[in-house]
Amino acid sequence: MTDTSHGTGGLTFDKTKRTWPSEMNVLLALVIIVVIFEILGQVLPYMNDQSFLFDTRDRFDSIFNEARLKIIILQVAIIGIIALGVTQVIITAGIDLSSGPLVAATAMIAMSFGQTELVNGFANPKAVFGTWAMDLPVLIPVVIGLLFGAFIGAINGTFIAYFRIPPFIATLGMFLICRGIALWWSGGNPISFPTEQYAAIGAGMMPVIWFLALAVIFHIIMRFTVYGKHTYAIGSNEEAARMSGINVKRHKVMVYMIASMLAAFAGVVLSSKASTAQAGMGEFYELFAIAMAVIGGISLTGGRGSIIGTVLGAMVLGVIRSGFTYIKLDGSYQLMAMGGIIIAAVILDQYRQRNKA
């Protein structure tokens, strides 16, 4: 109420008055964490002056330790794909716990249509179906996997939007159902020996390429399309969204379907990368995906956050994991420390939001 002048005074879009985006905080945290590991590498007696991210062997053509960078991002890429979908669900003030088991179930189902008939001249020992399902074009297992994801997502969304089941409960149920499907599909046996094409989906750095490409696509969708705007509106004030004429129920179903399709695709990529599908795959993936989103500044109360935040959140998680391994921290301590960091991220975010309001 400081501006009391007449006319258009103060109405224009003023770039300098935009608030500091929360993504910057995550980026800052990322830099600080890297610096901490860099310092630890210098001071810890058993580290022999190693560098965390930089190249210390005097090569002129590289600054960074590329091998470590690659591993960091490769480790988080597949869960990152899930996190892109979970982000959208959380922005609607929902939650999706079913994505980890969905990864396993989709990996089993898709892989069973992506097997090769002959392994070293012998019949595929892990064959699920007869020869009719062998050596199919790669598109078939991928499309089947995505359709399965869409189906699971549609069920999640329908129960949440139309039957008003709390998202936590609906997707917790689906969590168990999907794990059950994964175990039932081949009677608990692993499914292996994919076709060359299927194996190519997740080979080498392909998971990273998928992750980044999907991140760009969904960043554009969330930021610049009606779908994105309505997703934020629903998480921000569902009643207002309804009164504005948005079909909230249909939109929610769509969001859960997209999230589950992304998780399903992650399942395809994971099984391809591992060259095998097992019913126990994707354990804790749903929780790490949620953690990435939360570290990236996505508010669990809905309406706030962005895909960029989640990508940065994924990087933070990746750097922490890699850093702990780098300073030779035992796996059990790693889990404990990561849990603490996730809680700290939420506390910091809440503190920041309170100060801003």
């Binding site: 608030t19 399309t225 009606v226 779908y227 705007k229 998480g235 921000s236 004030n237 009643e239 969204a241």
Partner: protein, 259 residues
């Protein structure tokens, strides 16, 4: 032209189970007229508005807008027909900015063949927002700010600015200044006066007697679900209106029905 009937209801009735929240409301207003609806809590004011705006479905009765019978299935229908409502709860999305909120549910878009993934025309919406705010003389320092970071008065102004942006044919405001301070109330009242100058019809629900006498041409009083008075501002005064609200008096033409 000035006598064109904007809104007319006949025998508009709403029962919630056994509760007769609204009973046989006959209401009429003409182009450019500003009408206040007054009454005690539970007198049926908000129920009346909810039937007109399609938020609820009426039990019986007829509603016509500009001479045409209408039957709204939901609030969006009413809005498309040109009825803009500023609800008590404002219906704003806190995490979105001003243009986003003005255009929520009816965004300007391009590449519409993309269906739900069609692109938002941010530029066009920003321009239309500034036009709408100028028209209502609303001052908001930065329209890219989210609603969360705005004062109560600014929020109210954003909600009201929707009406100006979309050339509404009838504006309804449900207690627009109930939660506002003095200065903010003045700002909202200014907007109402701008609407009056623009000859835009308005229904104002308010408990604020001074405000009502300041802003409107006519006062309709509701009591226990029925209309009990229809008073021209010139022919009445605040004490008189209070008498109608409390039931000490009843308009002659309503003697039969209201008691």
């Amino acid at each position: 032209m000035s006598d064109q009937i904007v809104l007319k209801t006949e025998d508009l009735t709403k029962h919630y189970g056994g509760v007769h929240a609204l009973e046989g409301a006959n209401f009429e207003m003409t182009k450019g007229e500003h009408v206040a609806i007054m009454g005690d809590n539970g007198a049926g004011k908000s129920t009346f508005v909810r039937q007109i705006t399609g938020v609820e479905q009426r039990t019986r009765g007829k509603i016509s807008l500009y001479g045409e019978d209408v039957d709204f299935a939901g609030p969006l229908d009413a809005r498309e027909a040109g009825i803009e409502t500023v609800f008590q709860t404002l219906a704003l999305a806190d995490d979105l900015d001003v243009p986003d909120n003005l255009f929520l549910g009816r965004e300007l878009t391009f590449w519409n063949w993309l269906g739900p993934f069609r692109f938002l025309d941010y530029k066009g919406m920003r321009r239309a927002t500034i036009d709408g705010l100028n028209k209502t003389a609303v001052k908001i320092p930065n329209i890219r700010n989210t609603i969360r970071n705005m004062s109560g008065g600014q929020r109210q102004c954003v909600a009201i600015a929707r009406t100006a942006t979309f050339h509404s044919r009838l504006t309804i405001m449900d207690e627009p200044t109930a939660a506002l301070g003095v200065q903010e109330t003045a700002q909202v009242e200014n907007i109402v006066k701008t609407l009056k100058e623009g000859n835009e019809p308005l229904i104002l629900i308010s408990h604020n007697m001074r405000q009502v006498f300041d802003l409107v041409d006519r006062i309709v009083v509701f009591r226990r679900g029925r209309i009990c008075a229809n008073l021209k501002k010139e022919d009445t005064d605040p004490q008189d209106v209070v008498a109608y609200i409390t039931g000490a008096k009843t308009g002659e033409e309503y003697m039969e029905t209201a008691r």
